[in-house]
């Protein structure tokens, strides 16, 4: 179906295959003709030169067509891959960040990279090969029928057996491939597991013993796989046997009839030359079968995403962002995707512009959900969020997000320089502004110590920074953006108390005239807030000033106790 993406490449790929089939038949005709004339009629080389030249032309034409066919098939595969890649990512964006959360992102990235690459074999080899396996044998049968009915029958009877055996192999190979793939992955995973745990093994002086384990597990895998393969190869054996034995049967059958003058030599030789060509595309298709299974499996994973329905789009009459950043949650409810329990269960509060609000609560209580709602990564199932007088749903997400600076729980650094990672929130920022933001976030010192300073590459393909360093860069990114609303999700979780104090200080300065929502569980950050909201099990439990909260019993008090035992901490 996807092949329709590139109709011209598809037509070229299939068309050249068809022409190739006709040329193969013509070549066999001429070849057997030349041999017959020399052998039986006693023609000399000069007499058959014209035919030999024609044959050479056919051979050259075949080569050209094969070239054209390979190029067209490749073009088809490339077009399909590019189209699917674009649609896949676009669909992910339409589904939003809530869908491709951390636990799923690994799989999604694998689908978008390796998964799409696996489609290559399907569209480049298997699909054109399937057409050739259907087209050429039928044409050969049509040519053979008027020449020799008996050979026609041999070919006709064996031909359906080949797809039958192939399907059998396909099914067996599919199951086998799946099983072997799983075992292979288990084996590979075990090896990786040992490699990654090498330090741990060394700590316990156990690393040398693993050599035996690796040897043993790989040996077990070999024995198990060979048992399966012995059977699996049997069906491939049958297929090969069928194809070669049929050629042998045709040869003997026409040989015997030649003896009695039942068939002319020229036709007999033609049949012998064409018989292997009859089976060739069918056998070739069998060899490409794994491309098909691999491609289908990859396509299934892609369609799992592409077929995920998009969430209801909020009303389209986008309102402008109101002047006032007064945010009000009114009985906001949100269920997790599995529907098991609500992430938020009727939460109401309001934040006046300029307030510095700390949001606290145990892990999984719904703090990050509140941030996700404000960021429009998810929409409430019940209740509503008001900004000024407008329902947040009716403001366009883009213009709303333009008002926000955000630091996530586990900041992501892009595959670019440190400077660009900071400038990310404000591409037009000058170098001085970038440095100022880094200084406020306490990142400047370590950045200048990096190999290439602000031009050091980070992310997957660059330097891997520590969690604390990544947090500081993400903070610098957020500080650089001149946004009226700051949402910070545990921005100091990886920093030590001194570093944290510096950050909170910088935040307080930056918060002047802005609204800040700080998710945290650190005591030292709570005390500097104007107001503290305590969320537990999706409900708002407490709402007050830091001193109110600390005076009260309960979670905040326990937090205080855990955080270094009070006075000597400061």
């Amino acid at each position: 179906m996807e092949a329709r993406t590139a109709p011209r490449a598809l037509a070229a790929s299939l068309g050249t295959h068809a022409l190739l089939g006709l040329l193969i038949i013509a070549q066999a005709f001429l070849l057997s003709g030349v041999i017959a004339r020399v052998f039986l009629r006693g023609d000399d080389l000069a007499a058959v030169t014209a035919s030999l030249v024609t044959l050479l032309v056919i051979v050259v034409l075949r080569a050209l067509l094969i070239y054209a066919n390979a190029r067209a098939s490749a073009r088809l595969a490339i077009a399909v891959k590019n189209d699917l890649r674009r649609r896949f990512v676009a669909h992910l964006y339409a589904l939003g960040p809530a869908y491709s959360r951390a636990e799923r992102s690994g799989d999604l990235i694998l689908s978008a990279t390796e998964g799409i690459d696996k489609l290559d074999g399907y569209f480049r080899d298997y699909l054109p090969g399937l057409f050739a396996a259907l087209f050429l044998p039928v044409v050969i049968l049509l040519v053979v029928l008027p020449l020799d009915a008996l050979t026609f029958v041999v070919l006709l009877v064996t031909a359906p057996l080949i797809p039958f055996f192939m399907a059998l192999i396909g099914i067996a190979a599919g199951a086998l491939a799946k099983r072997q793939f799983l075992e292979m992955r288990y084996l590979g995973a075990h090896f990786l597991d040992v490699m990654q745990g090498l330090t741990t093994l060394k700590l316990f002086n156990r690393s040398r013993y693993q050599i035996e384990t690796i040897r043993r597990i790989t040996g077990q895998f070999r024995a198990a796989t060979m048992r399966v393969l012995r059977v699996a190869f049997l069906s491939a054996f049958t297929l090969e046997m069928l194809a070669t034995l049929s050629v042998a049967i045709v040869a003997v059958e026409i040989g015997v009839r030649l003896l009695h003058g039942g068939i002319a030599f020229e036709q007999a030789l033609f049949l012998l030359v064409i018989a292997p060509e009859f089976y060739l595309p069918l056998r070739a298709l069998g060899a490409k079968f794994h491309n098909a299974t691999e491609g289908k499996a990859a396509a299934e994973r892609l369609y799992e995403v592409l077929d995920t329905p998009l969430p209801d789009q909020p009303t389209t009459d986008a309102l402008p962002v109101p002047e006032s950043m007064h945010i009000r949650f009114e009985g906001v409810r949100l269920a997790y995707a599995d529907g098991a329990r609500p992430a938020l269960d009727g939460v109401s509060f309001d934040i006046t512009p300029g307030q510095f609000v700390a949001l606290i609560g145990p892990s999984g209580s719904g703090k990050t959900t509140i941030a996700n709602l404000l960021l429009r990564f998810v929409e409430p199932d019940g209740g509503r969020i008001l900004v000024g007088e407008h329902d947040l749903r009716r403001i366009s997400p883009d213009s709303w997000r333009a008002q926000i600076a955000w630091v996530s729980q586990s900041p992501y650094l892009f595959n670019t320089t440190v400077a660009d990672n900071i400038r990310f929130s404000r591409p037009e920022a000058t170098e001085a502004q970038v440095i100022a933001a880094a200084q406020s976030a306490g990142a400047h010192d370590f950045i200048t110590r990096l190999p290439q300073g602000y031009n050091t590459l980070c992310g997957e393909r660059g330097l891997r920074l520590s969690g604390g360093q990544a947090q500081r860069i993400a903070l610098a990114r957020a500080l650089l953006r001149d946004a009226p609303l700051l949402i910070l999700d545990e921005p100091t979780s990886q920093l030590d108390p001194d570093g944290e104090a510096g950050i909170i200080e910088a935040l307080r300065r930056h918060a002047e005239g802005r609204t800040v929502l700080l998710i945290t569980h650190r005591l030292s950050t709570i005390v500097s807030a104007d107001r503290v909201l305590l969320i537990k099990d999706g409900k708002l439990i407490e709402d007050g000033t830091p001193s109110d909260m600390l005076a009260a019993e309960g979670y905040t008090a326990r937090l205080l106790e855990s955080d270094g035992g009070g006075a000597d901490d400061a």
Binding site: I78, L198, F204, R208, E240, E460
Partner: protein, 549 residues
């Protein structure tokens, strides 16, 4: 002198030469069967056209039937033998690589950024298992067939043999060369573009939230299109090379048959014309896989080079020639310890002095990068120290074997690796001979026994890939049980509870302090928790160790 990586990896396959030789032989016999089938069949019908007595054909009839069956049988046997050999080779490669890697951990491997490069090394090994099957065997089979066909055609006329030999040389050398050079040319570039595209996809998917919040999504998404187009260009160029060699090899097959005819027509008896032509066409099957083999050989050489780059590193730490007997006293005395990772780098540890008597508890505070982990690495002999002294029981640490030093320390780090096996086996890593009783005692001490028994499979529960099935607190308690089972005289906690929330952290630490009563304890942390329970507290900053005021 440095040998080429391919030669070195080929030497690794030497122990398997019997299996490989047998598989090559069977592969050659498979194709020889096809050649014989076509040659005999052609002779059969040519001879039959002359209307001899049926007796003159009977041998050929038997031959045709025999070759028709033989091909399938040989192919089957070849596949079994080659797969068996491949699996043996894989096991061998893994073990050899592990043996090379083991002494390097963790100091040398730190630069490999565990995840990606290590998994790439594992992929490389898996790709090398095909070295024999897809790169070494096809040319050998082709060689056997080329020699056999040349000899066979030579029986009719030497000139025919020479002509076909020329075509086979072209198919066996020229075509693979084209395939190889085109894959080299487009290969390296398309690998770069593909890596760039994959990194961009990673940015786009993992960084989606940031891209949306900061309004950069469109810019980043347009990069995918640009890179896709670039990759398509590279792939088109690679397709040109593929198509070229495919066309050329088909051309050579048919052209060889034509050339044979042109040479043979005036020279040999017409009854053999069909035989030589069809045998030639059938023999070219052996040259089909050569193009891909050349490409694979190039890829295998790359994989081998990367693996040897890792395996050839020299370990950072070596055992002394005459090791001291294991220390009896677990007293630790560090004097003026100075350490830098590279000669010209600033010192990570600068004249650090510290003494830990048996039963003492010391906390060392410091932010990440302050030198805490370096100190731990030096104590465990993962790195060698150059300036100053580390004395264990009064003797220099490097006088002992690494094994004896590591027996002295129980260690719990921020992210202890949990192996993807049962909880029992994970704890038992500390002492492989430990009975269930000891394991449970350690788990009780670590306050994880009740949790384990509450699981459906108890101690046989799987922890998942790197402990993904257990929470952070449970993971650290399992790690603690493991460290306790080891029963080492000194316990080192390196940010052991940093990933836990404050309430869990405190609970785990309380447990540790209670059950390690009487043992030496070195606690490295960046959080000020339970410091009042320590005998001494230090701060490490910029490589200097100072008492905490």
């Amino acid at each position: 002198m440095m040998r080429s990586p391919l030669v070195r990896v080929l030497r690794l396959t030497l122990p398997f030469w019997r299996g490989m030789l047998l598989a090559v032989l069977l592969g050659a016999l498979t194709i020889a069967s096809s050649v014989s089938l076509m040659a005999t069949s052609a002779w059969l019908i040519s001879k039959a056209a002359l209307r001899p007595s049926i007796a003159e054909l009977s041998v050929a009839v038997v031959g045709v039937r025999f070759f028709g069956i033989a091909r399938g049988v040989f192919r089957y046997a070849e596949r079994l033998v080659s797969h068996e050999t491949t699996f043996r080779l894989l096991a061998h490669l893994r073990v050899e690589f592990y043996k090379a890697l083991e002494p390097l951990a963790p100091a040398r491997l730190a630069s490999l950024r565990s995840g990606d490069l290590l998994s790439r090394a594992i992929d490389d090994i898996e790709s090398l298992q095909n070295l024999y099957l897809r790169a070494v065997a096809p040319p050998l089979v082709a060689l056997v067939i080329a020699i056999g066909l040349t000899l066979f055609l030579g029986l009719f006329d030497p000139l025919i043999a020479l002509v076909v030999l020329a075509f086979m040389l072209a198919a066996g050398i020229l075509v693979p060369l084209i395939a190889w050079s085109s894959s080299q040319r487009s290969g390296t570039r398309s690998v770069d573009v593909r890596a760039e595209l994959n990194a961009t996809l990673l940015d786009d998917i993992q960084g989606m939230a940031d891209l949306l919040v900061y309004g950069r999504a469109e810019t980043y998404l347009s990069r995918i299109d640009a890179l896709s187009r670039q990759l398509a260009n590279e792939e088109e160029q690679a397709a040109h090379g593929d198509a070229l060699q495919l066309a050329l090899s088909t051309f050579l097959t048919s052209a060889a048959a034509l050339a044979v005819l042109a040479v043979a027509i005036p020279r040999i008896d017409g009854v053999y014309l069909a035989t030589v032509a069809l045998a030639t066409i059938a023999a070219f099957e052996a040259f089909g896989p050569l193009a891909q083999a050349a490409v694979n050989l190039g890829a295998n050489a790359q994989a081998a080079r990367r693996l040897f780059e890792i395996a050839d590193m020299s370990p950072v730490v070596a055992d002394p020639a005459l090791p001291a007997p294991p220390s009896i006293s677990p007293a630790l005395d560090i004097r003026d310890l100075t350490f830098r990772y590279a000669g010209d780098a600033p010192p990570v540890l600068d004249r650090v002095s510290l003494s830990l008597q048996p039963g003492e508890r010391i906390a060392i505070l410091g932010e990440s990068g302050a030198g805490k982990s370096t100190l731990v690495n030096l104590l465990l002999r993962f790195w060698d120290y150059d300036g100053g002294h580390i004395l264990l029981g009064g003797r220099e640490l490097r006088d002992y074997t690494q094994t004896d030093v590591r027996d002295t320390f129980g260690v719990m780090t921020q992210r202890t690796h949990l192996f993807n096996t049962t909880i029992r086996d994970n704890i038992r890593i500390a002492r492989s001979d430990a009975s269930q009783e000891y394991i449970e005692a350690a788990a009780r001490q670590a306050q994880i026994h009740d949790f384990i028994t509450s699981l459906p499979d108890g101690y046989d529960s799987l922890v998942g890939e790197d402990g993904s099935q257990v929470s952070g607190g449970e993971r650290q308690r399992i790690a603690l049980a493991r460290a306790l089972l080891k029963d080492a005289p000194i316990l080192i906690l390196d940010e052991a509870t940093a990933n836990l929330d404050p309430v869990t952290e405190r609970a785990v630490l309380e447990t540790i302090l209670r059950v390690t009563e009487g043992r030496g304890l070195l606690m490295f942390t960046h959080r000020h928790v339970l410091l009042d329970r320590m005998d001494r507290v230090y701060v490490i900053h910029g490589g200097r160790l100072l008492p905490h005021e």
